[in-house]
C-alpha cells in the first residue's frame, strides 16, 4: 500500500518523460496523458479508501531513516484532496482534448500538464515543509508554461505578472522554511509541532506570518489577490479551469495544514478579518466586471474567503466545514470555467456584450451553467449551501456576528453577479450574427467537451446528494487534521 504514495507522483512524471520523447506524435501524447491521469486518479481513490479504513499512510522515499527521507503522508484530508484534484485534472484533460483548440495543439501542453499533475499530487502528499516547497515549485514551473502556451501578447503580459509574483512567493516561502529549520532543526511536519511549541511566542508568530504570506499569495487572499484576476482569464479555457478549480485551493490546503498542525494555539482574529475582506473585495470586483472569465476569476477570490474563514474560526467543526467547502468548490468552480469554455468556443467571445440568448439556442447549456452558479452562491439544495451552512453555523456558535453578516451579504452578491452572467449570456435574444449561423444544440457540436462538463456538474450534484456521508468523512478528516498527536503518532513509529 505504502508504495502507492510515491506512484501518484512518479506515474505522471514518467508520463511527462514519455510525452517529451514522443513530442512529434500528438496521438501518443494524448494516449500517454490519459493513461497517466486515469492511473493517478485510480491510485488516489485507492489511497482515500485505504486511509479511511486503516488510518494515515506514510512512505519514506529514498529509504533513509526518519526526517532525512522524502516523507509522503496521506491522511484523510490529503487523500481526499488528492482524489478530487486528480479527478478534476483528468476531466479537464479530456475536455482539452475534446476542445481541439490551439492550446492542446501546442506540443508542450501534455508534458507540462503531466508535470502539473505530479506537482499537485506531491503538494498534497508532502510530509515535510521543504518538499511542500519543492512540489509547489514543480507545479508552478508547469503552470508558467501552461499559462503562456500560445505566446500571445496578452498571455506574455499577464504571465510576467504571474511569474514575478510567484517567484516572490517562493522566496518568502523558502525563507520561512529556512528560518523554521534554523529555529527547530527539523522540517518534518510530524516533528515540528512539538519543537515549534517550545519556541518563544514572538518567533513562532513571525514564522507563522511568513508561511501565511507565502500561502496566502498562492491562495489569493486579501490583500495578495491582485495577480489572479489578471492572469487567469488570459489563459486558454481548459487551463484556466484547472487553475481556477485547483491551484488556489492548494494554497488553502497548505494554510489549513500549517495552521492546524504547526500553529494550533494562535489568535486568528486578524485572519478572520482578512477572510471577511477577501470575500467582500472578491465579490465587489466580480460585480464590476463584464467578461465571464473575469467575473468567475474574481469569484475565486471571494470563495477563498469562506475557506479561510473556516480556518480562522478553528476547531473540528470549522475545519470539517472548510474541508467540505473545498471538496464542493473545486468541481463547481471547474465546471463554471468549462461551461465558459464551451460558450467561448461556440461564440468566439466571453464578453457579456457580445454573447446573448444562449438559453434560446441550448437550454441544456444554460442549465449546466445555472446549477454550479447557484451552488456557488450557496442556494439550497446545491452543495454550496451545505458548505456555507457549515462555516456560518460555526461562526454563529462562536458569536462572531459580523463575519456571519459579511458571509451572508457576500453570498447574496455572488448570486447577483452570477445572474448578471446568466442574464447577459444566456437570457434574452440571440445575437443577430448567431441567428444567421442558425445553429441550435450547442452541446451536440462539442460532444467530448459537453460530456465532460455534464459529468463534472453531475459530480457536484452528487456531492449535494451524498452530503451526509461526505460530511461525516470531512468530520473524520478534520479530526485527523486538528489532532496533532494522532498525526505525529501515525508518521513517527
Amino acid at each position: 500500500m505504502n508504495d502507492l504514495l510515491p506512484l501518484a507522483i512518479v506515474i505522471p512524471l514518467a508520463g511527462a518523460a514519455v510525452s517529451l520523447l514522443a513530442i512529434r506524435s500528438r496521438a501518443t501524447q494524448r494516449v500517454v496523458a490519459i493513461l497517466c491521469a486515469v492511473a493517478t486518479t485510480a491510485i488516489a481513490v485507492t489511497i482515500v479508501v485505504h486511509v479511511d479504513r486503516n488510518g494515515t499512510a506514510t512512505a519514506a522515499m529514498g529509504g533513509w531513516p526518519g526526517s532525512i527521507a522524502i516523507n509522503l503522508v496521506a491522511d484523510r484530508f490529503s487523500a481526499l484532496m488528492l482524489t478530487v484534484g486528480s479527478t478534476m485534472l483528468l476531466a479537464v484533460l479530456l475536455y482539452a482534448i475534446g476542445q481541439r483548440a490551439d492550446d492542446e495543439r501546442s506540443r508542450w501542453y501534455h508534458p507540462a500538464y503531466l508535470v502539473l499533475t505530479a506537482g499537485v499530487s506531491g503538494a498534497f502528499l508532502a510530509g515535510d515543509l521543504f518538499n511542500l516547497f519543492v512540489f509547489f515549485e514543480v507545479l508552478l514551473m508547469a503552470s508558467y508554461v501552461l499559462l503562456t502556451l500560445e505566446g500571445t501578447d496578452g498571455q506574455i503580459r499577464s504571465g510576467t505578472t504571474y511569474v514575478v509574483l510567484n517567484v516572490v512567493e517562493s522566496m518568502v516561502l523558502v525563507t520561512g522554511v529556512a528560518l523554521i529549520f534554523a529555529a527547530t532543526g527539523t522540517l518534518n511536519m510530524a516533528e515540528l509541532p512539538e519543537r515549534l511549541a517550545a519556541l518563544p511566542d514572538g518567533i513562532r508568530l513571525g514564522l507563522n506570518l511568513l508561511l501565511l504570506i507565502a500561502f496566502g499569495l498562492k491562495a489569493a487572499v486579501f490583500p495578495l489577490f491582485s495577480w489572479l484576476p489578471d492572469s487567469y482569464p488570459a489563459a486558454p479555457s481548459p487551463v484556466s479551469a484547472v487553475f481556477a478549480g485547483l491551484l488556489t485551493k492548494i494554497g488553502v490546503y497548505a494554510i489549513v495544514r500549517t495552521q492546524t498542525l504547526l500553529f494550533p494555539e494562535t489568535n486568528r482574529t486578524l485572519l478572520l478579518v482578512v477572510a471577511g475582506l477577501t470575500m467582500a473585495i472578491g465579490v465587489f470586483g466580480a460585480i464590476a466586471q463584464s467578461d465571464m472569465k473575469r467575473i468567475l476569476s474574481f469569484h475565486i477570490i471571494s470563495q477563498i474567503g469562506y475557506m479561510v474563514m473556516g480556518v480562522a474560526l478553528g476547531g473540528v467543526a470549522a475545519i470539517s466545514a472548510t474541508i467540505f467547502y473545498m471538496l464542493h468548490h473545486i468541481p463547481v468552480k471547474t465546471s463554471l470555467f468549462l461551461v465558459e469554455g464551451i460558450v467561448e468556443r461556440d461564440t468566439g467571445s466571453s464578453t457579456l456584450d457580445k454573447v446573448s440568448g444562449l438559453a434560446r439556442r441550448s437550454g441544456w447549456l444554460a442549465a449546466l451553467f445555472l446549477i454550479p452558479a447557484l451552488s456557488l452562491a450557496g442556494l439550497p439544495p446545491f452543495s454550496g449551501f451545505l458548505g456555507k451552512l457549515g462555516v456560518v453555523s460555526v461562526a454563529l456558535d462562536q458569536r462572531s456576528w459580523w463575519i456571519v453578516a459579511v458571509a451572508l451579504a457576500v453570498s447574496l452578491m455572488t448570486l447577483v453577479s452570477m445572474l448578471k452572467i446568466f442574464n447577459g449570456a444566456f437570457w434574452g435574444d440571440p445575437m443577430p450574427s448567431q441567428v444567421t449561423a442558425g445553429r441550435t444544440g450547442v452541446l451536440r457540436h462539442h460532444p467530448l467537451m459537453s460530456g465532460v462538463t455534464v459529468a463534472v456538474v453531475t459530480g457536484t450534484l452528487a456531492i449535494a446528494l451524498f452530503a451526509g456521508p461526505l460530511y461525516r468523512f470531512c468530520e473524520r478528516a478534520a479530526f485527523d487534521v486538528t489532532n496533532t498527536a494522532s498525526y505525529t503518532a501515525a508518521v513517527i513509529r
Binding site: D3, V10, L13, A14, A16, L20, M61, G63
Partner: protein
C-alpha cells in the same frame, strides 16, 4: 540591436570560449559525480554544462548552438526518463522509491570502486537540466531569427535609422 546576430562578434570572447568549453564540460561531469558525498550533484553539474553551452552561444552566435545538432526536447525526455527509471527500479526490486543500491567493484590497479545507483539518477538530472536550458536558449534563437527575418520589412522610426547608419559606417570601415 543585437550583437549576437553574427555581424559583430568579439574574436577574444569566442576564442576564450573555445578554450574554456572543454574545461567547463569536464568540471560539470566532475560536479555531477562528486555529488554523491559532497556538494555538487546532477543539478549543479547540469547547470555548469548549460553555462558552457550559453557561453558558446554568446561567443559564436546561433550557429554555435545549431552545430551541436542535439534536440533539447529529447534531452529533457531522456533525462527525466532516466531519473524516474532509477527510482522505479528500486521500487520494483522491493525497496523504497529512489532507494539507492550500492555495488562495490574491485578492478585491478584501481582498488575498491563504489558504484551507486543514485548516480544514474544524478546523470538523468544532469541531462534534464541541460535539456531545459538548451530548450529555452533555442526558443530565444528562434525568436532572434524571426526578428532578423522581419527586420527589412519593418519600417523603423527615425531614431533607429540613425543607429543603423552607424552600423553601416562601421561595416564599411571593416
Amino acid at each position: 540591436m543585437s550583437n549576437l546576430d553574427g555581424t559583430r562578434r568579439s574574436i577574444i570572447l569566442s576564442e576564450t570560449v573555445n578554450g574554456l568549453t572543454p574545461v567547463l564540460l569536464l568540471f560539470s561531469v566532475f560536479l555531477t559525480f562528486r555529488g554523491h558525498n559532497a556538494p555538487g550533484g546532477g543539478f549543479a553539474g547540469g547547470l555548469v554544462m548549460a553555462a558552457a553551452i550559453i557561453l558558446r552561444y554568446l561567443g559564436s552566435g546561433p550557429a554555435g548552438i545549431r552545430s551541436l545538432r542535439i534536440d533539447p526536447i529529447m534531452l529533457m525526455g531522456i533525462g527525466l526518463a532516466l531519473a524516474i527509471a532509477t527510482g522505479t527500479s528500486a521500487l520494483l526490486s522491493g525497496k523504497g522509491f529512489l532507494e539507492s543500491t550500492i555495488w562495490k567493484l574491485h578492478p585491478p590497479l584501481i582498488g575498491e570502486m563504489k558504484i551507486v545507483s543514485s548516480s544514474v539518477f544524478d546523470i538523468g538530472v544532469h541531462i534534464l537540466v541541460v535539456g531545459v536550458v538548451m530548450a529555452i536558449l533555442v526558443a530565444f534563437v528562434e525568436a532572434d531569427d524571426e526578428v532578423a527575418r522581419s527586420r527589412p520589412a519593418v519600417k523603423r522610426p527615425a531614431s533607429d535609422r540613425s543607429n543603423d547608419s552607424d552600423r553601416s559606417n562601421e561595416d564599411s570601415q571593416r
